[in-house]
């Protein structure tokens, strides 16, 4: 879907500035470095948005090692350059990234939901949101339009459902697998793209120092016993994502009551103490 291009503007009358964050992916079968699937989608979405605005203002940004060959597979999508904040392996990417983003103040930051390698905690968008003080929209499938500083977004829900959201710029969005597939990476442009290296101040990730890393073990899966009568039921049971039991939907209650319910739940789950 082409976003509404009548206003590639951010409401301040300036051109939209978009940053797509990319990481080094990892192929599930071979373990080889590659273009990460979700980050590729973040670049794709960024490119589509940039193409529909008057000036192409997309920065594709990586914090890490500019020599990584996998970065070129993003460039092969047709990028002239990839900006790399040169970091040592032990460094904390979040700090460096948020400093950079704070300074350059883009309107939209697109990331994957979680990285395919490294810690792969999926925390990056939230940590960035926290440090920039911006809203985070998780798992988006598309950005439909941007008008006067407000973006209309489709968020991906399980089983192909979508939720329409409007979000004021600037914001951070993580891009779901439901977003359009990234375009093919071509060898020629990939090979010729400029790796725009920026030396920057980095701090070691102190939290990680204390961790010991072991390879994952497969946990035994609980067998799901399906008592379905019809084929449709069986299909549903096989494809449905588990939905949390309990919970309630509050739509018409006053906002204070809704907020209280969320607060209580967070207390109950021990998220807030």
């Amino acid at each position: 879907m082409q976003p509404d291009s009548s206003t590639g503007l951010n409401g301040k009358g300036q051109d939209l500035k978009i940053v797509s964050l990319i990481s080094i992916g990892q192929h599930p079968a071979s373990g080889r470095a590659r273009r990460a699937e979700q980050d590729g989608r973040a670049v794709e979405l960024g490119m589509t948005l940039a193409a529909s605005s008057s000036t192409q203002n997309l920065t594709v940004l990586h914090a890490g090692d500019s020599q990584q060959a996998a970065l070129r597979s993003y460039a092969g999508m047709g990028l002239e350059s990839v900006r790399v904040l040169q970091l040592r392996e032990s460094a904390d990417a979040v700090k460096t990234l948020s400093e950079y983003l704070h300074k350059h103040a883009p309107d939209i930051i697109l990331t994957g939901v979680r990285a395919e390698s490294g810690e792969s905690s999926g925390m990056m968008p939230y940590l960035l949101g926290e440090s920039l003080g911006w809203p985070v929209v998780s798992r988006i499938a598309d950005i439909v339009s941007i008008k006067e500083g407000v973006a209309e977004i489709l968020q991906a829900l399980p089983r192909g459902q979508r939720r329409a959201l409007t979000v004021r710029l600037p914001f951070i969005a993580s891009v779901d697998n439901a977003a359009p597939e990234p375009r093919q990476s071509a060898f020629g442009p990939a090979n010729r793209a400029f790796m725009e290296q920026q030396q920057c101040h980095s701090e070691p990730d102190t939290a990680r120092n204390g961790w010991s890393i072991v390879s994952a073990r497969k946990r035994p899966k609980r067998l799901k016993i399906v008592k379905a009568k019809t084929a449709a039921d069986r299909f549903k049971a096989a494809t449905a994502k588990p939905q949390g039991a309990g919970g309630k939907i509050m739509k018409n209650q006053p906002a204070a009551e809704q907020a209280q319910a969320i607060f209580d739940l967070l207390l109950e789950e021990g998220v807030l103490r």
Partner: protein
């Protein structure tokens, strides 16, 4: 007397204009990229190439070869003598008589051209080509009469002595002008006779001179990966002698008649493709093209120029992606034009610069890059098929007689049956063999045909590096595509890794190797007990590697009398599985595999013997009822006299 100088002036003018046209035409070719050619050797070899190689192909159509020899030979001789007699005014009765004879020869030839053109088959182009026989007749007839006085048959001055003579002369002059403009101007200014001029030079400066004298040159040329633009974007990106080759086309449509994609109604016609290349090189539109279109596409919409991107306006990318790279067109082309090279060159641009490989293309290429196999399977699952086979691994044994190159059939359950059958035969014949196991990577065939030469080169170099670690005498594979890559394409990349690796080893297809074993008595076979059998020649075994005989000899050694299809041997019709065509999957009106199955059915065969896992998959994809499809290795094990266990050791 006005006519004394009129005809010489006409001839001289025509020659001069032809020369100017020639310079302009040569400049069109020179716009292409540099390619080193041995000019002198080429020119010296040219007549021989014309008389043997080209004529051997024309000879497949006896009518046309005789016609062409008479017309073409007559014309060349006549032209030389016309210059002597009519332009330079050499007075010799003998020469004049010789000229009369050669003009007669040409005239007779032209009559046959005329006859063929009365009801031309659809593969022939019409338009100016319909005019050609008349021009040939006009040229030879008019000069014949003009020469009569010099031969002493008619009195000297006959043509200007009377009113009748004057009228005759005027008429003759019109015919001469018509003949000269077709034969001389047309030759260099783009008429049908262009094929003679460009064709002669094309034979001399052919990009694959190895093809002459019965040789074979089928491996694609490597791309230099550090170029400004990878692949061919605009006509000027072709090598200059490729451009020259396009100009040599006679629009005979032999290629069109055999093209499986054309027959299937996919938007490809190799003849039109070559003509579009000419349009691109010279600039303009295809409106003047008078042959069959790309199926489903109108003529007159395409525009191009030497500096314009071909796939934006001149050729629809779908046309390029329809090709199965079966080489049937190249094999039939009397002008020895290289369609497949051109198509892959343009695909290279689409894949490596534009990133627009259609359908599953991008996914397959990504998988090849990330997992070294087209379906994205875990690399170490490559040996799973052989878990029960107890195959020696080269990483253990280090040295062997035969490397069995398993290829990607390892991941496919149907192909695994072929692999097992072949292993059983190897064991029965006591062959000292080993496999590379997980060290083996995809051969790169599909990546290369899809235009991704970067990935192909990476796979090739890594495979070569693996091979170079071991000592062995031959590589044998059941996959003709891997066979072609290993045998004809890898040597270009061995430099610096294992320089003379490919000089010291043999690469064989399993049918060739099995045939050697059978002929040497290493495999004992019972006679085949079954119905009629036909054999389908895989393109990459037959046309690409010239192996037509071994599979047939193997079948004969089982006592099978092969019920040959009309299109077999070098004329075999593709199964539709080559060139990445099943991956790009360009829609047509019919499926190529269905058409091949119809070929099979006309023989009444109950079993199709094949020598390729891809052909097997394509032919088995045809809906039943249909004959059974089996690889020759599978047919052999059914008849194998199993050696006693103790004989094995």
């Amino acid at each position: 007397m006005v006519f004394e100088w009129l005809h010489p002036v006409l001839i001289a003018t025509a020659l001069l204009l032809a020369a100017i046209g020639a310079v302009r035409r040569v400049n069109l070719w020179r716009a292409g990229q540099a390619e080193s050619v041995d000019f002198v050797a080429g020119l010296i070899a040219m007549p021989g190439r014309y008389l043997h190689d080209l004529h051997d192909i024309v000879e497949r159509d006896k009518y046309m070869s005789k016609t062409h020899a008479a017309t073409g030979g007559g014309f060349v001789l006549s032209l030389a003598m016309i210059v002597l007699v009519h332009l330079l005014g050499l007075e010799s009765q003998i020469l004049a008589w010789a000229l009369l004879v050669s003009l007669t020869l040409m005239f007779v030839g032209a009559v046959f051209v005329f006859k063929r053109r009365l009801n031309p088959p659809s593969r022939l182009s019409k338009g100016p080509w319909m005019r050609l026989p008349k021009s040939l007749l006009a040229f030879s007839g008019a000069f014949f009469i003009l020469t009569l006085p010099m031969a002493g048959v008619l009195p000297e001055g006959f043509l200007s002595s009377s009113t009748g003579g004057w009228i005759l002369t005027a008429v003759l002059t019109v015919f001469i002008a018509m003949g000269l403009s077709e034969m001389l101007l047309g030759m260099t200014w783009g008429g049908p006779m262009k094929h003679a001029f460009a064709g002669a030079l094309h034979l001399a400066f052919h990009r694959r001179p190895e093809r002459f004298g019965g040789g074979r040159s089928t491996g694609l040329k490597p791309v230099a990966l550090d170029q400004r633009v990878l692949g061919v974007q605009k006509p000027e990106d072709f090598k200059w002698n490729q451009l020259l080759g396009f100009d040599a086309c006679v629009q005979c449509g032999k290629c069109e008649a055999v093209c499986p994609a054309f027959a299937a109604g996919q938007p490809l016609n190799p003849k039109k493709l070559i003509q579009d290349m000419v349009v691109g090189m010279a600039g303009g539109s295809d409106a003047d093209y008078a042959g069959s279109p790309y199926p489903g596409k109108e003529i007159g919409q395409a525009n191009g120029g030497p500096l314009l991107t071909i796939t934006e306006g001149l050729i629809d990318p779908q046309t390029l992606w329809s090709c199965t790279t079966c080489r049937a067109c190249v094999e039939e082309c009397p002008m020895m034009i290289e369609h497949v090279d051109a198509i892959v060159d343009m695909r290279r641009f689409l894949t490596m610069e534009k990133g627009s490989t259609p359908n599953k293309g991008a996914e397959v290429l990504d998988n090849l890059i990330a997992t070294d196999n087209p379906n994205g399977h875990a690399p170490n699952s490559r040996t799973n098929w052989a878990a029960d086979q107890n195959l020696p691994l080269l990483s253990d044994v280090k040295e062997t007689d035969v490397i069995f190159w398993v290829s990607d059939g390892a991941f496919d359950m149907r192909s695994q049956r072929i692999l097992r059958a072949f292993v059983k035969l190897l064991k029965a014949a006591n062959v000292d063999f080993a496999v590379l196991g997980a060290e083996e990577l995809d051969s790169g065939d599909v990546a290369r045909r899809l235009g991704d030469d970067a990935t192909f080169q990476s796979l090739a170099k890594r495979n070569i590096a693996t091979l170079s670690q071991y000592k062995f005498k031959r590589i044998v594979t059941t996959d003709p595509h891997a066979y072609h890559c290993l045998r004809n394409e890898y040597a270009d990349f061995a430099e610096g890794i294992a320089d003379d690796l490919f000089d010291n080893i043999e690469v064989l297809h399993h049918t060739t190797f099995l045939n050697q074993l059978v002929q040497a008595g290493k495999l004992k076979l019972n006679p085949y007990k079954g119905g009629t059998v036909t054999y389908h020649d895989p393109c990459y075994l037959g046309r690409y590697n010239g192996e037509y005989e071994a599979p047939r000899e193997l079948l004969r050694s089982l006592g099978i009398e092969i019920a040959e299809m009309e299109r077999s041997g070098f004329r075999s019709r593709c199964c539709g599985g080559g060139g990445g065509a099943p991956i790009t999957d360009i829609p047509g009106e019919r499926r190529i595999a269905d058409m091949r199955m119809e070929d099979v059915q006309t023989t009444g065969a109950e079993l199709i013997a094949v020598g390729c896992q891809q052909c097997t998959a394509m032919l088995e994809g045809v809906v039943e009822p249909r004959p059974q499809v089996k690889d020759i290795a599978e047919i052999l094990i059914e008849s194998l006299v199993e050696p006693l266990a103790k004989e094995l050791h």
